[in-house]
Subunit: 380 residues, 2 copies
Amino acid sequence: MRRVAVAGIGLTPISEHWDKSLVDLAVESSCRAIDDSGSLNFDTLYVANVGSAFIQRQQNLGSMISDALGIKGINSLSIEASSASGGFAFNEAVRAVASGVSDSVLVIGVEKMSDALPEEVASTLAMSEDQEYIAYTGITNFGLNALIHRFYMECYGVTASDIAMFAVRCHEHAEGCNHAQYPFKISVDRVLTSPMESDPIHALECSGIGDGAAAVILKPFEGKDREVEVLATATSTDIFHLTQRRDITTLNAVCSAAEKAFRTAGISRKEVDLLELHDDSTIMGVLSLEDLGFAEKGKGSTLVVSGVTSRTGELPTNTFGGLKARGNPIGATGIYQISELVMQLRGEAGKCQIENARVGLAENLGGVGSSCSVAILRRL
Amino acid sequence: MRRVAVAGIGLTPISEHWDKSLVDLAVESSCRAIDDSGSLNFDTLYVANVGSAFIQRQQNLGSMISDALGIKGINSLSIEASSASGGFAFNEAVRAVASGVSDSVLVIGVEKMSDALPEEVASTLAMSEDQEYIAYTGITNFGLNALIHRFYMECYGVTASDIAMFAVRCHEHAEGCNHAQYPFKISVDRVLTSPMESDPIHALECSGIGDGAAAVILKPFEGKDREVEVLATATSTDIFHLTQRRDITTLNAVCSAAEKAFRTAGISRKEVDLLELHDDSTIMGVLSLEDLGFAEKGKGSTLVVSGVTSRTGELPTNTFGGLKARGNPIGATGIYQISELVMQLRGEAGKCQIENARVGLAENLGGVGSSCSVAILRRL
């Protein structure tokens, strides 16, 4: 297998882009990634997207977006694994370049949620769960997260404010982030007095909905300046129904993807300098810290409260605000995470820059942890 | 790159499966493929599907179906490239096994269209075209095919009955096919007196809508009995809007995918013993014969009329009935095609068996030819 590098990245701000179509956003991010990489060539295009079939009534994004980029004759397709679509597409791309079947891959994560009515957004998110047995009851994804959240507090004696700190830290980090949807601070009080989204989860513990596109270009690693190496990627799945899992406070897909990724990377947890985690609600961020192996079970929020995951802590986490504050354009989120790792590792993170970033890890979740991808990146 | 084999196949009949869910169909075909291959192990699952987000309001099929199969911890995701989803998923799988990143891949094509109202089916099909510039006008895919159909007749002096013969041959071949949706003969007269779907295309020139799932298991080639080798796969894209193409009677994605596939396979067109083509309407079958390089431009239907593409002809085509008579469960169609080649090459095609089948080619189209995959298979 060849060594693989991220050769270019491109982002649009996450926002309500009323003046741009889904394809406009995809093209904008791609052009930035192409500029950044200094190369126009790629033989494969993966589009990570969740909502377009339902919201825009648009499929066939592979040939549609490659044509919009002025390219034809390539391998171009869409990849979907719920909100982990970006991470799963990145994994496919890394495998393609590593194995030599592809010399350059463009991966675009794109989502345009503003076109949808609120009930359509809820329907889109609920498609990650079993329609016939779970979603039909009316329970939302945040409702499922709430089951975990409450059970976790009772099992481990953790308080609501401990977990709410995850959102507070995210918002601290988003200040000064140009592409973040909510770049301002919030307090624990403000979180815990915000309306209940799904008891015990408050509205300000949940990631919002936004439009955005992120693109990365992968190539064989050459050791050039600004290249960031992909040490490992791994994906995994868990039992689909939350209620059938032995312990709902453990995300097995995260454990197994992390184990595979660290084995491939040949490094230890201690060598990781920053994390980009999938906090679609605060509890998922906390569980991710634990199931990736950075905190003991029940101690994830302790790390957050103590400041370890802050920008100046030992393990800065969600350094641009995470899903909570940077935003969560569902199918694009995984590619935003990868791009953010690259910005940190290159030292191009602006006001969000952390010190001495050499190795970063991104974790992207689909459903309520039924799908997970993990990527570990390193600068020379 | 390693040599790759299809180690197992499994099909459900294409029909209206009122008593089965989309996941039931996927599991049924997978269990048959697992039985057929004699092995339970696979590390990757690709699900090819088009309609589930819109029709069943279901996504995340990767982890959902792997869980339904009793498997967790694998790389499992959905792939979409309009009605070429099956072919594009097969291409990903072949690349994964050939390059050594995967030792065994299960590819499932699955579609359940009966759950949808007729207008929802039309909406689903229209998603393969640009919603904002093409589909919003109300033109259907068959409407776009009709533009090609009429222009082709005028350019090349071909008659309606010449082209209608493509459907007649398909129905001849479907007789005796256990998994075909319409296993009965029709005449040219019956085709040309059937209602207009979109002038000049008659209803009986169009593929229908059905439920079905097909699964294949790919492994490194070992030279065992019943193994069928994948000599090559290739995918390509064309200009997205039909109206922007230089010549609408040429499917450039087909030309370029075929060229790549034959170059990789290292064989000539003359070595191909049978074809499974994407005749979503008759004209697309005719153009496919030409753009794959088996007929001169304007002469595709001559091949059909003369009997060359019949079961006992020199180049049997759509030997189980093609999209027209076997059926077209959109995202699954490409995997049905691969399975049918395997059945022919193994000599297990029953009443549909052709003689001396050694090399077969499958062609799967998305949109109005904006995406194309080609696969070339060979038995020892």
